[in-house]
């Protein structure tokens, strides 16, 4: 019965297929890729959107001056070549010939300038303004963004002719090419923006310059993109249509993947990694992301101003056990502040490699030296977000401190906004901390911890500043990384932070998809992929 039914169905579907083939010839079958999206799309406005998952879509429909390659390294995008001045302050980009918007309009250098100006315009109220005022300090950007200047010409991004974009920086930013991509540096199609205002990104109005074009955006449901014939590299784009399915529940996404209805999932539930690996082998992708996790001490508050206390607490932790036995889920143990970056000679906090007995003995010794013991128990509280992995980290650390030192640690798990508000209040003691880098390089992490950046840690280190400044004026990457590692060493040696891990980025990728390359910044442009 089963068999008969099956073959009957085969015959019918075979007939339908034959009919379709006959009708559709000679056109080849359309290739469609379905990708999961962890949450609904808040905004597709290229100058405003700030969420990584929305960035996937923006990366498909817009292209910056440079474009990340499958591994996330910058390669020519809308710009074919560029020159960087010897002082590292002026970047001159030369656009490709014959660039077009999706409606056929020519794409000119001024469109990129307009994009930056709109991002910085106070009226736009874009989160991304800080990229140009702080991550790379574009001349005049801070004044324009702060409203002190209203003249767009005062911003150091200009278009001397239709094919040249010139960017002037206040100080060298040798990592600038990692920033000038579709996520931070998309062009603006001014005529449609002027005609429709904020609605210029609605499917019926949108004009794009990327490998794909947006045709449908249903909130909470899906976003559909089709291959753009006007894209300069359209010949090498293999997938005709991309459907981003919004699947907020990761378990549902796994089921869709198993049923073959979603080719690439947005995430993998951490408790299913092992089972899925057993079932799907190399279709399971788990790699480091640009998020680093660490515990911070408030060194402006006693007793955390005493390095012995900080060291004792760091040494009392079995970081390997916290990350590999408790948290798991693809989190990678990391004893340095910066995430693991290729070619970066990452320093490690000294106690991380110590044998356990020695580490514990040293911790107890330092704890006693700092004046604490059974008669004078250290009580502290850890501010943590209520995200699962974070809660596990904080709770395990509290238990380890209790067992090794007798410390009474209380965990305050709260929602994300309350947690960050606690940090900004400055009344915290130990903060279960994290930082997401703007790109996958040490510069973005160390810029944040620069004592002069006043991120709220209240620490000082002339050594760090000297090494960091020297690095920023060094164009050669190997040399620069060495200097940055010196700065990081200074940070680790003060025990202001206890680095723990880097967060994973996880995805199930169907074996019929090729062109997916794991990379920490999470760049996965559909234009490099193909399906069988």
């Amino acid at each position: 019965m089963m068999l008969a039914n099956y073959s009957a169905r085969m015959t019918i579907s075979g007939m339908i297929l034959a009919a379709i083939v006959a009708l559709a010839q000679p056109a080849a079958a359309e290739s469609v890729l379905t990708r999961g999206m962890g949450s609904t799309i808040g905004t597709l406005d290229p100058q405003i959107n700030f969420l990584a998952y929305e960035g996937f879509i923006l990366d498909d429909i817009y292209e910056g001056l440079v474009s990340p390659d499958p591994a996330g390294e910058p390669v020519p995008g809308a710009a074919e070549t560029w020159d960087i001045s010897d002082d590292g302050l002026t970047y001159t980009f030369h656009l490709r010939d014959g660039l077009k918007w999706s409606n056929g309009d020519p794409l000119v250098a001024q469109d990129f300038v307009n994009g930056v100006i709109r991002t910085l315009d106070p009226a736009t109220a874009s989160d991304k303004g800080y990229i140009f005022t702080s991550t790379i300090s574009v001349v005049g950007a801070a004044a324009f963004n702060g409203g002190e200047s209203t003249d767009p010409a005062s911003v150091g991004v200009s278009a001397p002719d239709d094919k040249t974009v010139v960017i002037q920086l206040e100080k060298p930013a040798p990592y600038a090419l990692y920033i000038l991509n579709s996520f931070y540096f998309p062009p603006l199609h001014k005529p449609s923006f002027e005609a429709f205002g904020g609605d210029f990104i609605k499917p019926e109005n949108i004009v794009t310059n990327g490998a794909y074009h947006l045709i449908e955006n249903v909130p909470q449901s899906h976003v559909t993109l089709v291959k753009s014939p006007t894209y300069w590299g359209a010949d090498s784009v293999k997938i005709d249509k991309v459907i981003y399915q919004i699947t907020e529940d990761d378990n549902t996404a796994v089921k869709l993947f198993k049923a073959g209805e979603q080719d690439i999932t947005y995430d993998i539930p951490s408790d299913q990694i092992e089972a899925l690996t057993a079932e799907f082998g190399d279709q399971v992708h788990v790699t480091s992301s640009t998020e680093t996790n660490y515990l911070s001490f408030n060194i402006t508050k006693p007793p955390f101003d005493d390095i012995r206390v900080r060291q004792a607490l760091a040494m009392a932790l079995d970081r390997d056990a916290i990350i590999n036995k408790v948290v798991k889920g693809g989190y990678v143990l990391n004893c340095g502040y910066v995430i693991p970056v290729p070619n970066y000679p990452q320093p490690q906090q000294a106690d991380c490699a110590m044998p356990k007995d020695e580490r514990v003995a040293k911790a107890q010794e330092l704890y006693a030296e700092a004046g604490f013991g059974p008669d004078n128990v250290l009580a502290l509280s850890i501010e943590s977000s209520n995200n699962d992995a974070y809660k596990k980290i904080a709770e395990t650390a509290a238990v380890m401190w209790k067992q090794t030192l007798g410390v009474e640690a209380k965990v305050n798990a709260q929602d994300r906004d309350s947690w960050l508000a606690a940090f900004n209040d400055g009344n915290w003691q130990v903060f279960n901390d994290n930082l997401v880098g703007d790109f996958a390089g040490p510069e973005t992490f160390l810029a944040y911890m620069d004592p002069r950046a006043e991120a709220g840690y209240g620490w000082q280190s002339p050594e760090y500043e000297a090494a960091y400044d020297k690095a920023m004026s060094t164009e050669d990457q190997a040399e620069r990384y060495k200097l940055l590692a010196e700065a990081e060493r200074a940070l680790l040696d003060t025990y202001l932070v206890i680095p723990l891990s880097s967060s994973p980025s996880r995805a199930l990728v169907n074996s019929r998809v090729s062109g997916w390359v794991d990379n920490p910044a999470g760049w996965h442009s559909t234009k490099y992929m193909s399906v069988q």
């Binding site: 808040g42 406005d45 303004g129 249903v218 909130p219 378990n251 089921k255 906004d417 960050l420």
Partner: protein, 306 residues
Amino acid sequence: MFQYVVRRTLGSIPTLFVLAAITFFMMRVAPGDPFSGNRRLTPEVLANLRRAFNLDLPLWEQFWRYIWGVLHFDFGPSIKNRDYSVSELIGIGFPTSLEVGMWAMLVAAIIGIALGIAGALRRNTSVDYSVGAIAMVGLAIPIFVIGPVAQSYFGLHLRWLPISGWGDSWTYRILPVLTLALPNIAYISRLMRGSMIEIMRTNYVRTARAKGLGERRTILRHALKGALLPVVAYLGPATAITITGSIVVEQIFSIPGIGRYFVDAAINRDYPLVMGVTLFYGSIVIFANLLTDIVRGLLDPKVSYE
């Protein structure tokens, strides 16, 4: 009755105003604001963002501006979903939540009432025990377990129904509707059984029987009406909750409704969206209660509209 409806509707205005005021000031007590999530934002960027959403104004002024907007049917922009206004988000999502919720309540009411009557009339028989068992299962197993299990079995294993998503086909409706209906079936059947048993013992039912009325007519004409009263009282508020979307069911089945906004908006400190969904929900509850009272009046001669 028309007068009654008008009076009740007018009476709901102060209720909604108080609801708006309490929500508005209470949500501001929660630490953080919509923009505290990104730690790298410079003071200029933060100032621009706060200004764009009027968060730089004194709280009282923000409140009055909000109320003024509401009076003009402007519920403001969503801060986290910047491509949409609050009205658009609710307008796009509500029909879907309403559809799932209405079907779920309809299924739950029909099955629940039928099961309840069956249990009451066949008391302490295998029928009654089966109904009791169904009710126990429906109440004890949470929908975040039922949903994924149903999804795995009917969607992934048997391939009878879509795993998730929302399309024109009715097949997309079955699993979410049943998942959402199950706990309600359970509750309604218990409620119906209890009140039916009670009603069957009342004097007027005994009188009907004494007068020689058949069992069928006694139940349908006389007992049922009275027995439905507690169920109707439950259905009003329960329908209000169900049609405004269940975050669990909507997430599991990827349904584009409004259920998630109730939680997401609060977590993200999306103030206008919190206000919008709260007022919307408040209005639905008021409307559902009004409907309930009208239906109760039709069922129970003791209730008057005065």
